[in-house]
């Protein structure tokens, strides 16, 4: 006996007949496709939140920038420096310089309450006081509307994300701080980074408005090169005049985003798993009814000499095609709905809102489609095996 002839064309034709006849099983096929699309859309949607948040946080920190906090402090909130310390830090070798001096900005921040545009409820927004070097440290900063605040004046400029999320931050508006009114003079972008969620003003002005004396909370510094970091950090921590903690900015933000990212990822997988279980049953049901509706047809093909292995593979393929259609639909849907969807969330390390955009990344789409494939394969396997195991003679008796 010869080996089975052209196995692949057998598979191809059986799968083709199945898909052609899927039109007759429209309702259950559509339900399955939509179910799988739902799983993929929700999965990608939820994880696009953490991908977007992560992206915002990592866009904030470059590897050749450092943040210096008081030792023992995990965030700027609980850190503090006097004028003298900030001067010693700025003079430490390893920091990049320009014509005006070292690119080291001693900063402080306070939290003010502003109403969210969407809900009208108050939320915490960071108001940061910076020194002129801040613009050299965060070199991606761009004024997009209005102008930069003037040094020494009660003026603020607002990050694009904060301007979008909160009411009363348009250029020309007035911000009530204490008993005073501070005009908003400009809007700036920072490549989607955390600074976009903040309001900036002169550190000196902020100190006096909030009776902070001559104290700061953190120092943002740009290094001469990424490689300069180790020596710079070692020099600072070894300095007996200082009690500091040095972090690369990239690490600092990654740490801050970790908790939220982990939480969202866990929720995403949990929800997707539960939905996927439902979708597997949907797919099983569809393929079992496909097999049942085609019992005699499949038996006829096998009577003509089509192999049972080809039947199994073809039915799996059919289920896979339905799943991929569902997966593509779900991925497209989630891309349209969630990509660049702007949101704000609490950053628990700074107790203030971070604005960011959901990111439907290619990796997420890949994962979503992988889920669809898994659902399709599991949903197709058992019905396919049943179809191939059925004794032909008995199956031919069925109407």
């Amino acid at each position: 006996m010869n080996a089975p002839l052209n196995w692949f064309s057998q598979i191809g034709s059986i799968a083709k007949f199945g898909l052609l006849s899927a039109a007759q099983r429209r309702a259950s096929v559509a339900a399955t496709v939509v179910g799988i699309a739902g799983v993929v859309a929700v999965f990608i949607g939820v994880l696009s939140i953490s991908a977007g948040f992560n992206r915002a946080m990592t866009a904030s920190g470059s590897a050749d920038a450092a943040i210096i906090l008081r030792s023992g402090a995990d965030s700027e909130m609980v850190s503090g420096f006097g004028r003298e310390e900030t001067r010693i830090i700025a003079d430490t070798p390893g920091i990049a310089r320009n014509a005006e001096g070292p690119l080291s900005s001693a900063e402080l921040f306070v939290i003010i309450n502003l109403p969210k545009r969407t809900t009208g409820t108050d939320a915490n927004v960071p108001l940061r006081g910076v020194e002129s070097a801040a613009l050299g440290v965060r070199d991606q900063l761009k004024i997009t509307r209005g102008r930069m605040f003037n040094w020494g004046r009660n003026e603020v400029m607002v990050g694009a994300g904060a301007a979008r999320e909160f009411a009363g931050l348009e250029v020309g508006a007035q911000l009530s701080i204490g008993r005073e009114k501070w005009p908003v003079v400009g809007i700036f972008s920072a490549n989607g980074g955390v600074a976009e969620s903040e309001i900036w003003t002169d550190a000196k002005v902020l100190q006096s408005a909030y009776n902070r004396g001559d104290s700061y909370q953190s120092i943002y510094a740009r290094l001469a090169s990424p490689g300069a970091y180790e020596a710079f950090a070692a020099a600072l921590t070894a300095n007996p005049q200082l009690k500091v903690k040095v972090l690369r900015q990239s690490e600092y933000y990654a740490n801050q985003s970790q908790t939220l990212t982990r939480l969202i990822t866990t929720i995403g997988y949990l929800v997707a798993t539960l939905m996927a279980i439902g979708a597997v049953f949907g797919a099983l049901n569809t393929m079992y009814s496909a097999v049942a509706a085609r019992t005699r047809e499949i038996a006829t093909l096998r009577a003509l000499g089509f192999g049972s292995g080809a039947v199994v593979v073809a039915l799996m393929l059919e289920s896979l095609v339905l799943a991929l259609i569902g997966g593509a639909l779900g991925a497209g849907l989630s891309y349209a709905a969630f990509n660049n969807f702007h949101a704000a969330t609490m950053n628990w390390q700074s107790f203030s809102q971070v604005t960011f955009a959901f990111a439907v990344t290619p990796a997420l789409i890949g994962q979503g489609v992988a889920w669809a494939v898994a659902i399709g394969l599991i949903g197709g396997l058992f019905p396919a095996i049943r179809a191939a195991r059925q004794p032909i003679a008995a199956a031919l008796r069925e109407l």
Partner: protein
Amino acid sequence: MNANGKKADPTALVRVEGVEKVFHRGSEDIHVLSRLDLTVATGEFVALMGPSGSGKSTLLNLIGGLDRPTTGSVSIGDDRIDALSDRQLAVWRARHVGFVFQLYNLLPVLTAERNVELPLLLTHLTKAERRRHVETALAMVGLTHRAKHYPRTLSGGEQQRVGIARGIVTDPTLLLCDEPTGDLDRKSGDEILNLLQALNREQGKTIIMVTHDPHASARASRTVHLYKGQLASEPTP
């Protein structure tokens, strides 16, 4: 001793020898065929009759390699098909048997010509060769003008002619028909029988046909009757 009243003929095409078939339904054993012998020579047109439930389809399925006997042997030509594996049987069926079913069993999603082409997908023929074979088979059953029609737009008689074209398109050793006229009116049934008779007389096709209808069996060159698991050349009450 077999129904033909002669010893198994080694030159015969179909040799069913000492076949028993027992089905199990729950704890119950259903003895359908018991020590049954049947020989069919090349070029014969045999009608297989018998009461409903007597095992006609069962016997036909054993000869067509769709099922295996509980005991006994089934040989077609040089092949002991009861000894073949499922996979070998599938290849053997594709090569040697054409089936015609009572309910035609056409694929509704395919046109007449695509339905006829199905068994050819299991051969090494090129597309052009397949098309030629399909045209020939459709011409034989007089349905050339219906080639592009879907089964649901054809009458029962036409659908069965498509079924026959599919059964003969590979030029099989054996054509097995299970009540091919069972679902047709007298006129369409006669057309089908004319066709089968012509295939037998003009092409020398060996045909075994299960039927309830004496009109149908009258067209065969020989009729055998199945009763209580055994064959007889005369109908038994």
